[in-house]
């Protein structure tokens, strides 16, 4: 399969995308100790992990690749998340909860 872009163009794409990784991820790191954020901003950033992950996870589970929202209890991904969450609460074992979640998800895809 040949690429629609030339070798030079592809090299430029790889370098450009690498820059996009570098610039976004190191943006505030470069500022270092010189930067002083307000107390309010620091409180806000404390909630960055949980809010961003919620925004990643929710569409992943409820759209599952399709264009239609699937909030039914038969959505295999929802079944997987519930099973995985219950296992995590019960056993506190992360690898176990991943395995149980994948098992429930696979079974739900076959049988529901």
């Amino acid at each position: 399969m040949s690429d629609p872009l030339s070798g030079i163009a592809m090299a430029a794409v790889v370098v450009g995308l690498t820059l996009s990784t570098l610039v976004t991820r190191t943006s505030f790191f470069v500022a270092g100790a010189k930067l002083k954020l307000s107390h309010r901003a620091e409180v806000a950033l404390r909630y960055a992990p949980v809010c961003t992950l919620a925004a990643i996870i929710a569409p992943d589970v409820l759209f599952h690749g399709a264009d239609a929202l699937d909030t039914s209890l038969f959505n295999p991904r929802l079944v997987g998340v519930f099973a995985s969450g219950l296992w995590l609460i019960w056993s506190r074992n992360i690898v176990g909860c991943l395995a149980v979640g994948m098992l429930a998800y696979s079974l739900a895809r076959v049988y529901l």
């Binding site: 690429d3 790191f29 470069v30 949980v50």
Partner: protein, 247 residues
């Protein structure tokens, strides 16, 4: 605690590095599944194997690579492809702002290296340890470096496997869901305070409503909306000892 001498300091640094590697270990099946699936997707999406390998090794950002892929294959203009990379990576600007205070004392080169290899998993795992006060007292940069190196090796090995074995790896098993489950396991236990719950629900709702936006902008909108909602909830939260401790 504060043993002196260069030898014991190097030992403490090494211990922090090893502890970091262990801290990310249980979540690695998620990275592994995502690496594998995105490796396969790049080749099946129409990229030549050598370019898929080069991109995977250099770019280190699965979501940006996958967002840029259709534009590359369609021969879109260079600026459009790179702009897509930047927009898809926007959430990492927030991540770097949140982590900055922990690494502000380090040399610039060290800060840039740690930042470049940051991922969703390693960022959230680090911030959770900071919130739970389980970070090592010293050398938290080494702790983070330990996590990042472990995650990086897992990611590259699985992405390469996906690229090379693209025609043998099943894409209809939903393997990538392991990554989503690992994120749930990572973030679920932090939903123990009202502002966090308010922020998560708001972030999820906005991300769902804005799902149609291009470049994963829905994700970014959800993150911003969630953070604003959580901050508001935080202001109206009665001050209890637990909240004070987290601050």
């Amino acid at each position: 605690m504060s043993a002196s001498g260069p030898g014991s300091d190097a030992a403490a640094r090494h211990a922090a590095f090893r502890a970091g590697r262990l801290a990310i270990l249980p979540y690695l099946p998620g990275s592994c599944a995502w690496g594998l699936v995105s490796g396969v997707a790049m080749v099946k999406g129409g990229l030549d194997v050598p370019w898929a390998i080069a991109m995977s090794m250099m770019v280190n950002a699965a979501s940006a690579q996958l967002a840029a892929l259709p534009l590359i294959v369609a021969g879109a203009p260079l600026w459009a492809i790179i702009a897509t990379g930047f927009i898809t990576n926007l959430r990492f600007v927030i991540y770097s702002a949140a982590m900055r205070p922990h690494f502000a004392h380090l040399a610039l080169k060290r800060r840039i290296t740690l930042g470049f290899f940051m991922t969703d998993f390693t960022f959230v795992r680090f911030m959770r340890a900071a919130q739970e006060n389980t970070l090592p007292a010293a050398h938290r940069d080494s702790w983070f470096a330990g996590m990042v190196s472990m995650n990086l090796v897992t990611w590259h090995v699985s992405a390469l496997t996906g690229i090379v074995g693209a025609s043998y790896i099943p894409t209809d098993w939903g393997l990538e869901f392991t990554g989503t489950l690992a994120l749930v396991a990572l973030v679920g236990p932090t939903l123990n305070m009202r502002p966090a719950v308010v922020g998560a629900i708001t972030g999820a709702l906005v991300a769902l409503l804005a799902h149609g936006l291009p470049y994963k902008l829905g994700l970014f909108a959800g993150a911003i909306a969630g953070i604003l909602a959580a901050t508001l909830a935080d202001r109206f939260q009665p001050r209890d000892p637990r909240a004070a401790e987290a601050a």
